[in-house]
Amino acid sequence: MNSIEGQIRIPSGCAIAAVISKDGNRLTGEKIVNSMKPMHDRSNGLGGGFAAYGIYPEYRDFYALHMFFNDRAVRKSCEVFLKERFEIIRSEIIPTRKIPAITDEPVIWRYFVAPLLSQLNNLQLDEKEYVARTVMKINCEMPGAYVFSSGKNMGAFKAVGFPEDVGVFYQLDEYEGYSWTAHGRYPTNTPGWWGGAHPFTLLDYSIVHNGEISSYDANRRFIEMFGYQCTLQTDTEVITYIMDYLLRVQKLSLGEAASVIAAPFWSLIENKTDLYDKKKHEFLRTVFPSLLITGPFSIVFGFNGGLMALNDRLKLRSMVVGEKDDKVFVASEEAAIRVMEPNAENMYAPAGGEPVMIKVKKGAF
């Protein structure tokens, strides 16, 4: 029997998880997919997804574009566009398993591409800016085509469904990466479709997010001044672009970017005794006031060679970190970490606004 809204309560609130090997050891997606099972009730089946780093070593020098198309015709016309801008090294269907839990899938392809040098010279752009602009162009101007992953040696995999089913659908047990992030979705503002599932990515940056940011529109208005287009009306997309802007364009460090988006309260900055630290925080809050993210969030931000976990400054969402040998685990709930590693050690909950940054040893990825 179908219940209509108001007659049924679905207790849930998004789930995130991540695992990374500091030694760059590659793990299959099996662990991270299983970690989502005890958190099943945090999602409602309207979105699940994963980001995996280090999965395409044989194509490590090429941008891996993961794309959804509404139909074959859109794919064909989009490929014409791609060929004008890139050399396509390889193009293929992303292999999937047919399972009853995942239905209505779009056409899902991936392309390993290199920007055409002539175009780069012509536009006087660096490679990453060129790829980012192309992704924005496709996602804004080409109805029925959507780039959901565009980094090197990494990829996002996402769908409408529960995350543990999405993992089976994309055959993640057959990929090996040194870092994985995961998300189970309970959409609050949008109906939930394939492109709207997490992770949200741009280049090799990816975000999985549990929460509901109240500064979305203020953040969006600011970031759109710099050429980013928020096409999905969902808050996580804007966090991805903020991180890209702060790290790639403004060249801030990870810690500084965390201090911008989860800035300490003025009263706490006022009380700081380390004067350099105090000045730094005053500077960051003054220069980037519109990039402060308010409202509840816990995020895992993935990038080539590492990840960062961060809570909003009031810590309105839960997040736990644990470790074992070369691996570090992050999840919304300790139970998810125990599924990945029953003997995980040093389990702790980082404070609100305290970034946890883990990098793979130099040269190991």
Partner: protein, 238 residues
């Protein structure tokens, strides 16, 4: 009686608990929510990690967790006891109005948020280690004790007792008035103050193997709201 609950959903798990009349040990617990919700007359031991809202609306049952617990333990509990031999997540004892929560380790953010009391119903939470930010947020009644045993560094995070308008928070050791809102006053615990928690601290010490005299003889600081209606200037007169 021993139940292995690996892979069991929370509904089935709670049905098993309801159907049992003797003390129960749950093994292989991993993230099941709402364990023992609303139950009385039960004695439950948990191996593994119980999920969120453990013992919510608890009405007299006794729960022991041999490890860490997640968020919202004892949400709105009315009576009974929850004993955690590890750390506890955020919002422990959310709006609890009776019973006891004893935690061996540290508490996350917002422990004791909106605890309340009425006549003989006075909930008590004792935190063995340190407490996170917003301890006792909007607290309306009941007693929170932070023992700060084996704790180096700050014993409570930022903004403790924000919006507090009833009840008491005890800290073993020093806390700074500047870290608290204006409407909260700190004072050294009197013998009358200590009298209201001696029984519970003694019980806590024997549960976790501490010397109760040593704890009770330490200096305690008490935080209380400094009037019956400390926020009337913020809202309409009432």
């Amino acid at each position: 009686m021993l139940f292995n609950v690996t892979g069991l959903g929370f509904k089935e798990l709670n049905e098993k608990l309801r159907g049992s009349n003797s003390p129960v040990t749950l093994s292989g617990c991993c993230g099941q929510r709402f364990i023992a919700s609303g139950m009385k007359d039960k004695c439950i031991t948990i191996e593994g990690v119980p999920g969120n809202a453990l013992g919510s609306y608890l009405n007299g049952a006794s729960i022991t967790v041999n490890g860490n617990a997640q968020d919202a333990v004892g949400d709105t509990m009315n009576d009974g006891e929850i004993i955690i031999h590890g750390n506890i997540g955020d919002a422990a004892g959310y709006a609890m109005r009776g019973g006891k929560i004893y935690i061996k380790g540290n508490a996350g953010y917002r422990a004791g948020i909106h605890m309340k009391e009425y006549k003989e119903k006075v909930p008590v939470m004792i935190i063995g280690g340190s407490a996170g930010s917003f301890l006792g947020e909007y607290q309306a009644g009941g007693i929170i004790v932070v023992l700060a045993l084996n704790t180096s560094g700050k014993i409570v995070g930022n903004f403790p007792c924000t919006g507090m308008h009833g009840g008491k928070v005890f800290f073993r050791g020093n806390v700074l008035q500047n870290d608290f809102p204006q409407n909260i006053s700190l004072r050294p615990a009197t013998s009358a103050d200590m009298g209201s928690v001696t029984e519970q601290i003694s019980e806590y010490a024997s549960l976790f193997g501490y010397d109760k005299e040593k704890i009770l003889n330490s200096p305690f600081t008490v935080a209380v709201p400094d009037s019956k209606n400390p926020y009337k200037q913020m809202y309409v007169a009432n």
